[in-house]
Every structure is written in C-alpha cells, then in structure tokens.
Symmetry: C2
Subunit: 191 residues, 2 copies
Amino acid sequence: MAIDRKQLIIEAATKSFSLFGFKATTMDQVAKIANVGKGTIYTFFKNKEELFDEIISSLIHEMKRAADEAMDSTLSFHEKVHRGLYQILEFRLKHQLTIKLFQEEKEMGTPAVMEVMVKLEDAILGYLKEKIIAAIDKGEIQECNPEVTAFIMLKLYVALIFDWEKRNEPLEKEEIAKLFEQYIFKGLSNR
Amino acid sequence: MAIDRKQLIIEAATKSFSLFGFKATTMDQVAKIANVGKGTIYTFFKNKEELFDEIISSLIHEMKRAADEAMDSTLSFHEKVHRGLYQILEFRLKHQLTIKLFQEEKEMGTPAVMEVMVKLEDAILGYLKEKIIAAIDKGEIQECNPEVTAFIMLKLYVALIFDWEKRNEPLEKEEIAKLFEQYIFKGLSNR
DNA sequence: AAATGACCAAATTACTCATTTAGTCAATTG
DNA sequence: CAATTGACTAAATGAGTAATTTGGTCATTT
C-alpha cells in the first residue's frame, strides 16, 4: 500500500501550526513539509480551516483520553475532578500546539483560532458536566446546576493555574488541589 | 479666587477619556475642552500618563467609597463581600470611563491602559484582602491565605458576571449571591 | 484515477510621505 | 514677575499604494 497522504498532510500541518501558529502557516508550507503537491491537500480537506478543525478534533480526543486515564473509579469525586482537570490543563501547558494557539488567540485574535478555542472549552465543559451529573446521581455531591458548576470549576482552575502565576509564584499541584477542596468542596464558612 | 484650572483640566480629561479612550484623546483636545492653554496642563501634570494616573486614582477612591457604602457592619461576611464586589463590578459596567478603558484594554492593548488596569485590579484585591483578614480575626471565616482567597473571590465574581453571559443567559444578582455562598462559603461536598 | 504545481483573484505586507501629536519654551498677560 | 499661553519641533501615526504572498482552482501529468 502506498503512503497515507492524508496522514502526512495532517502531521505536516500539526507540526507547522505548532511551530508558527494558524495564520503564519501557509498551505504551500504544509504541502512542502508533507512532500505533497498543494492540490492534494484540497482532495482531503475543503480548505485550511477544515484541516485545522480535524487536527483540533483529534486533540480534543487525546485530551479526553488523557483525562480518563488520570482517573479511576475508586477515586472520590473531587480527586477525579482535580486529576482530570489538572491533566487537561497540563496538556495545554506541555503541548506545543496548544501553547501556540493559546498565544495566537490572545495576541492576534485570529478568528479561526478563536472559534476553535471556544470548541475546545465547550468540550472540556461538556466532559466536566457529565462527571458532575454522575456524581450527583451517585450522591457524591449535593444537587447543583451541572452547567454552572462545570463553568465555575474550569474558571477556578484556569485562574489558579494560568492567571495566578502572571503576578505571583506558581502554585504547586498539591496546593491547587487543596485550594480546590477548601473552596469548592468544603467552603470557608464557620457555621 | 480665580477658577481652579487644575480641576478644569481633570474634568475635561475625564470627559474625553470616557468618550474616546486614552489613546484617542489628544492634549490639544483636553486643553480646548478645559478652556486652557495646552502649556498649562504641563504645569500641573508631568505628561499625559500622569494626568491619566491621577484620574484613575480618584476613580479607585470612588470605587472604595461605593463598596464601603454598600456594606454595613451588621452584615455577615459573605453578604459584605457579595455587596462590595457586586458594587465594584457594577461600577465597571455603569461608568463610561471604566467601560471605555475596559474596551481599550482588550481591543487595542494600549500600554498605559494595561498598566492602569493592573493597578485597578490590585486595588480591588488589596481591599478584599483587608476584609478577609478582618473576618479571620473576628472568627467569621476559617483560617486561609488572604491573598489567594481574595484572588479566587474576584476571579469567581468576574467569571460569573462577565464571562458567563458571553455564552449564556446572564445570572441574576441573587443567583450570583447564592452560587457564591454555595461554593465559597458552604462547599459542594456531602461529607 | 490520483496527484500535481502553474496560475489567479484576493488578502496581506512593506513602504512612503503627509498629517498629527506630545511636550517645550519664548513671548504675553494681568 | 508669576502664571498662562500657543506657535513650534521632533517623533509618532496612519492613509494610500505598490509589491508580495496566499488560499484555492484546474488543466496537465503520472
């Protein structure tokens, strides 16, 4: 069987997006890296955005898998949430592609990138929501609005991991877990 | 006594910053609105940024006052925090100047505006921190890191008020208070 | 039938030059 | 003579445009 051109293209595009971002990646470049004629790209993908979307979709799958792997059913709900979220956000910090896109979203506001980041956030929120609903059913946590709760959890995590260290010493993984437990799972109140 | 030229300049600049933002406000314009020669501005303020800073400093004072007024010492800590924070963020939504600056920060990234917004956030965090320390002393809430706690409270509030409604129906003031209580002050856990 | 790269319209960029602006200071005013 | 002013300048900005680049197509090649 001949080489899988579609796969070559996906790999080349992933490499280039990771290195230069979406906007600065040209289709000529992708074709060259993939050792493929430019026209060939358009037999597999309608346009640049669709190629991008396909790459992001597998990224989302990878993230889900990483999160699932970090959990196991014997863990308490809050350990699950912590490990899952931490895994997902670690992913963001470690993988070149997500770093580059995160940066491109904020610094240039490239529309295609903005769209894709919304999709990514939605995927995370949806995933969290599922876990929350399951936890309510099992009686592990109180009744609550799963949508809002997922939203709050994600925002809190992002704030602790990304925003906090813009102006302070980064928080350790354990500290974050502790804070999360203290606020979301126990509350501050004395009564 | 002659007219207070400094005050005229401050009022003119405030008006112009509110209407056009920092970057789009020219010193000629401020001078004209204030009915003052341009040189006069420079007898009171070293440069455009210093004029801007002075205006922001009084804005911060106004915010503090508004927050203080919304509280009273008979309220529980979480009612105080809720009313104070709500007041401050309402301020952001209602006052032309803060709206314009918020927009300029995100859309144009004007350096002087970015700087000033950091100062504003610091002022809010410092204010919150004080209240938190007082509450710990009075035994109203558990021991906690006041810096991190202030940070979490602000981020959570901003998320609930600004970020949530980017993609969902806005939350009512009462809902926000309830959520805040549920998460920060009570926690989700069943044990 | 699958793959290609020369080609084109549209978008982006690099550059220029006229205009605008922040800040100064010699002249003016009261 | 102390306070005020606005004409002035160097630097920054941005409108206009020419040159280049890019996404996408399609006739040709393999």
